[in-house]
């Protein structure tokens, strides 16, 4: 692989991100601008931005790698990451926008009228954000090393630095433009090489899988994986329910002008993601045919163009894929950093623009250190764990908070603690001490199937046991969450503290 092309691609993406970010500086003047881009972003821009933010290294590189390694069972991963938006659309999108909350802790405070729940939600946002950021930085190191031979910490550091500067200088408005740009870049960077790859594959006589792969690898639940059915269901639950609990996704919904627009934006997001996720599975299958030796690594997307096409064309296509990968690292990390920094800036530091900037630095340094220290797992697996934590903490909080009047602060806290705590414990044991074998290993590697029901159960039972603590203004909050904005109604005077 030609180093110069790869380096050029990385430099171009980084430069573009910084320039587009700088373009936003003029536009962001007040604290409110930093957080929500003044709510003037159109639905397609907004949906592209959500897509750009959402498609991380796990989607761009990780899925293809896992499909190459484990086969058809891993097809559920992109399905869940898309379907999660359907669940989010029907259960959460419009009421969440109408709540007027910028962040998950804002929502917790608005709905439950409790600072304690707000703080706990803040801690969980930071934990999920860091868990999600860590594999992004690790993958950046991996890719930069594969392209240029640089040491592994360099890629992570580069991404972290660019993101911190971008977030500090531009805030949310610039991020919206950067993110929207990144979605289309990522789609192009995966689709264009794939066209050439498929042409090369046909030109080479369209070879199929070998007999053993066709009988085992290509079929779901066919391998010798232990507890395959449990893992599949747990994965489905985590991805479908975890999407709504991702902090960087929810921030975006505030950028819609009203609840109706939030729904429509989600619909566009589903289409954009559906289009994107058609691609990684094909990479995985081609990789199984041509480079089966890459089993267990995340680099199949980068390796295929050079292997199948070669020459200058192969180098150029590899450079394009590299650019897409860096776009993935930058966009997801930016979104997460904005969210984590928002929580740290408001709830731990004093609030305001200066705190936000200090918080942005803090938000990237911790996962950067974690990335250097933790053992390297497939990126999609670690991101899957972040989904499991989100599904077992914020999913019950949002669903019950929006649809069930009798939720109490005590119930919410107990549920967040039980679900989020158990899921975090499983994550720690998997990343720190794993891999474990047998049933325990399966339960810890895919915790959602037991932590999500526990979280819901605890939240409901404790709420029912503390009926006296139902928030006094719950009726007004319900009006706020559910009535269309066109009606002239009293929706209470709660405002997010960040405005």
């Amino acid at each position: 692989m030609n180093t110069a092309y790869g380096m050029t691609a990385v430099v171009l993406v980084v430069l573009a991100a910084v320039l587009i970010g700088a373009f936003g500086i003029r536009l962001s003047r007040t604290t409110s601008d930093f957080y929500v881009a003044s709510r003037t972003v159109s639905p397609l821009w907004n949906a592209s931005a959500i897509g750009g933010e959402y498609l991380s290294a796990a989607s761009f590189l990780g899925i293809a790698g896992l499909i190459l390694t484990y086969g058809a069972d891993m097809l559920w991963l992109p399905v869940g990451w898309t379907g999660g938006y359907l669940v989010l659309l029907v259960l959460v999108s419009a009421p969440l926008r109408r709540s007027g909350a910028y962040t998950l802790p804002d929502f917790a405070e608005a709905r439950l009228e409790s600072m304690a729940v707000r703080r706990m939600a803040g801690v969980l946002v930071v934990l999920i954000g860091w868990l999600y950021l860590m594999p992004q930085f690790q993958s950046a190191g991996l890719v930069l090393r594969a392209i240029t031979g640089a040491p592994e910490w360099a890629g992570g550091l580069l991404v972290a630095a660019v993101v911190a500067v971008n977030v500090m200088s531009g805030g949310m408005r610039s991020i919206t433009f950067v993110q929207a740009f990144q979605y289309w870049l990522k789609l192009t960077a995966l689709a264009v090489p794939l066209i050439f790859l498929l042409l090369a594959w046909r030109g080479g006589g369209a070879p199929g899988l070998n007999a053993r792969d066709a009988a085992v690898w290509a079929l779901p639940l066919a391998g010798d994986r232990e507890y395959g059915l449990y893992s599949t269901y747990s994965l489905i639950l985590a991805t479908f329910l975890g999407t709504m609990g991702l902090p960087h996704v929810l921030v975006r919904f505030y950028t819609n002008p009203d609840g109706r627009a939030a729904r429509r934006t989600t619909l566009v997001v589903l289409s954009l993601l559906g289009a994107f996720y058609l691609l990684p599975a094909v990479y995985g299958a081609l990789g199984r045919i041509y480079v089966p030796e890459l089993e267990g690594s995340d680099t199949v997307v980068l390796a295929l163009p050079g292997h199948l096409i070669g020459g200058v064309a192969g180098d150029l296509l590899t450079a394009l894929v590299t650019a897409g990968a860096f776009a993935a690292f930058l966009s997801t990390s930016s979104g997460l950093t904005v969210s984590v920094a928002g929580v740290i800036g408001q709830d731990i530091l004093k609030g305001g623009v200066r705190s936000f900037r200090a918080a942005a630095v803090l938000a990237v340094i911790v996962p950067l250190a974690l990335a250097a220290a933790a053992r390297s797992l497939p990126v999609a697996d670690v991101v899957g764990l972040a989904f499991a934590v989100a599904a077992s903490s914020f999913c019950p909080l949002l669903v019950l908070g929006i649809w069930w009047r009798r939720l109490t602060p005590a119930g919410a806290m107990a549920g967040l603690l039980a679900g989020g705590g158990l899921a975090c414990l499983a994550v720690l044991m998997t990343i720190g001490g794993g891999p474990h074998s047998g049933l325990l290993g399966a339960l810890l590697a895919q915790p959602a199937a037991w932590t999500v029901p526990i979280a819901f159960l605890v939240m409901v039972v404790v709420s029912l046991l503390t009926p006296s603590r139902i928030p006094p203004n719950v009726a007004r909050t319900m009006v706020r969450l559910h009535t269309p904005e066109t009606l002239d109604l009293d929706r209470g005077d709660w405002r997010p503290r960040s405005s």
Binding site: A72, W76, L86, V87, V90, P220, L270, N473
Partner: protein, 176 residues
């Protein structure tokens, strides 16, 4: 929660609320059902007429100067909701229940499809070997067909959810 009545209408509306909330249980059984139905425009006039009929016997016992008052309730539903009367609550609960049932319906269908597929592949292993245009069925479904299905489902949901909201808005605005 105490709220200041709108200026100009003094204490009188308060008495009205009391009146209304005492007699609203019999109305409530019909009203909240409406946002769920699809064909509402023709039924709207019918509903008006039926309400007028249900009010007719009551008019005979009213002997105060209120006989000159218009027949339609002057009290907008938005204020019923704002002041959290029982009627307002019933309107709100009906909206939330309608939207929640819609959401639950979509989630149930999604759960059956997504939860059923692994089970189907496990219980009917032959299905895994079926080929669709040369692609194994599990791949054709999970790596292709399921995405347009998601978008179609989402589109139908958005349409119905917006319709529900429109009905609610009409219901609330009509009483003005």
């Amino acid at each position: 929660m105490s709220r200041v009545p709108e200026p100009g209408q003094g204490g009188e509306p308060r008495r009205w609320i009391g009146d209304r909330s005492r007699r609203e249980p019999e109305r409530s059984r019909k009203e909240p059902e409406r946002p769920r139905r699809d064909a509402d425009r023709p039924s709207r006039r019918d509903a008006d007429r039926s309400r007028r009929e249900s009010e007719r016997p009551r008019r005979e016992v009213v002997t105060s100067p209120r006989t000159l008052a218009p027949r339609h309730p002057r009290y907008p539903v938005t204020r019923e909701i704002d002041e959290q009367t029982r009627l307002g609550e019933i309107y709100m609960r009906s909206l939330i229940r309608t939207q929640f049932r819609l959401a639950l319906f979509v989630c149930t269908v999604l759960g059956c499809v997504v939860g059923g597929l692994p089970l189907l592949f496990l219980l009917v292993p032959d299905l895994r070997a079926v080929r669709l245009l040369g692609i194994p069925l599990p791949w054709a479904v999970l790596a292709g067909l399921i995405y347009p299905a998601f978008v179609a489902g989402a589109w139908l949901y958005v349409r119905q959810a917006e319709r529900n909201e429109r009905h609610f808005a009409e219901l609330v605005d009509r009483a003005r």
